[in-house]
Symmetry: C2
Subunit: 298 residues, 2 copies
């Protein structure tokens, strides 16, 4: 399978997701920026703002190639002269705090030494955790994983728990989801099946988010809800800028800053030593973020 | 000179600065948290919020000691078993966008192998750059530097230009100031003089900030000023979480998160591909942030 075919599938995936998300949002449309990368390749960044559901969101497609820099050799342990990478990544910040933030990424990497692999994941960051909705989210992901390999869900769920963790806060970013990287052809499924797995995740993404958003997007919002949302967005910023390897790598390797930082919320707050009220929904959410959960068998 | 004496001087410096800043603020008072560090030592974090001038600010004193971790050996290149560190650090986010954000830090480090050094700096981040005020700020710093060594100002000014730079934005954080590190006794002045230099900087801090704030704190503020302030605070967050070695080191070495992240603004915004209006004050400020300046001889 040629890398051109994968990039072409990812490009169609971006089109499909944007079109579905516009339908879900019901008000705003994506604006597109086509950009080129100095070292080779480029991308299509699409941003949606001030919509009926989404306050700020981005769906990014990129296809880049070039020389493997010393920084990449060091941070990714790559032993090759040149690389190729293509992928789709998404972050959506909803306006209503009762709707979760969501992130998705699928990507394909190929080196001049012949190695190639897929990576990606979907994770959910509710401002307020509703255990039943978390179960629904994880079941949606498990259903897709199970179609490809019986080991995928539990392995990728644990990987997400490890990855989407903020050590300096001793909190997970949200309720996790799935995360995977370095999935090589045959480990354990064929290259074609790995691509189909990524594409099926991507195509399911709008439906998965609809299921999380639809029944909560019209809930009334208090000033206190907005304050909490801004504080949780602050944590999202901390994770992305301090802990997220993808963001860090993008920034130090000279990626397009505005496309990488499309993941930033429109607004975030920090309050010194914020402690939620006892027995509040905010405290309930923090409790869930501080321990590991099997959201399916809870 | 004993390290206890240095810590004691730094503690008094924190007291002095807090008292002067309360007088300058005119409305709010600092709240204090005394904390202990698991590996040894502790600190006094003082936070001021929703004041007459300062929307959110912190003045932190710490005196910590312990085993040199593998992380410290790697990131700081330290070859010793144990360390001692004491210092005062400050970040103030004013409410009025016409008043700059300011940061100061003085610190002393000592290793079990006998090595010891001072570090620190003061830098200013105006939301709107006023060249005459930038000159005044740099002159204030130069006057103090010149009293201790003729090489200090130009060396430390260049160091600040290099340090307070956001590569992924190709912008400086603000108008710089001075930054210094690893100043060892005799290089080029005595240990006692290095301490006095740090203390004099610290004692001058409230006056220096008063000179920047006093004539601008009552200027009227438009909605557009507030939006710009929030966007510049977003850049401040990016620098602190992505680029600032002190913050990164603190977070990965298990420092007290709330004391380290007292530097975060109360609120920050991100807007995809924000471009200021042509010939606006915002564009003028960005222009100054994108080139290096000799603010004294401009």
């Amino acid at each position: 399978m040629e890398k051109d075919k994968i990039a072409s599938e990812f490009r169609l995936l971006q089109d499909f997701i944007c079109s579905e998300l516009e339908a879900l949002d019901g008000a705003a449309h994506f604006q597109e920026d086509i950009w080129e990368r100095e070292g080779g390749g480029g991308g299509r960044t699409r941003i949606i703002q001030l919509g009926g559901l989404i306050e700020k969101g981005g769906v990014n497609f990129s296809e880049v190639e070039g020389k493997v820099s010393d920084e990449m050799k060091r941070s990714m342990g790559i032993q090759a002269d040149s690389f190729y990478a293509t992928g789709v990544s998404i972050v959506l910040h909803p306006e209503n705090p009762h709707v979760p933030i969501i992130h998705m990424n699928v990507r394909y990497f190929e080196l001049s030494n012949g190695n190639s692999w897929f990576g990606g994941g979907i994770d959910l960051t509710p401002h307020y955790i509703i255990p039943e909705k978390a179960t629904e989210f994880h079941k949606d992901l498990k259903d897709i994983c199970d179609k490809y390999h019986s080991s995928f869900y539990s392995k990728f769920k644990d990987w997400a728990d490890d990855y989407f963790f903020i050590p300096h806060r001793n909190e997970t970013r949200g309720i996790g989801g799935i995360f995977f990287d370095h999935l090589k052809p045959g480990e354990p499924i064929s290259k074609e099946d790995l691509l189909q797995f990524c594409l099926e995740l991507g195509r399911a993404f709008p439906l998965i988010y609809r299921a999380q958003a639809e029944d909560r997007r019209s809930l009334s919002v208090s000033e206190r809800d907005k304050v909490w949302q801004s504080l949780r967005r602050g944590r999202y910023v901390e994770f992305n800028l301090v802990n997220d390897r993808g963001t860090k790598f993008g920034l130090v390797s000279g990626g397009r800053t505005e496309s990488i930082l499309m993941s930033m919320p429109p607004r975030a707050n920090w309050e010194y030593c914020f402690v939620p009220e006892k027995d509040s929904e905010e405290e309930f959410t923090l409790h869930w973020l501080r321990t590991k959960h099997d959201y399916i068998q809870q």
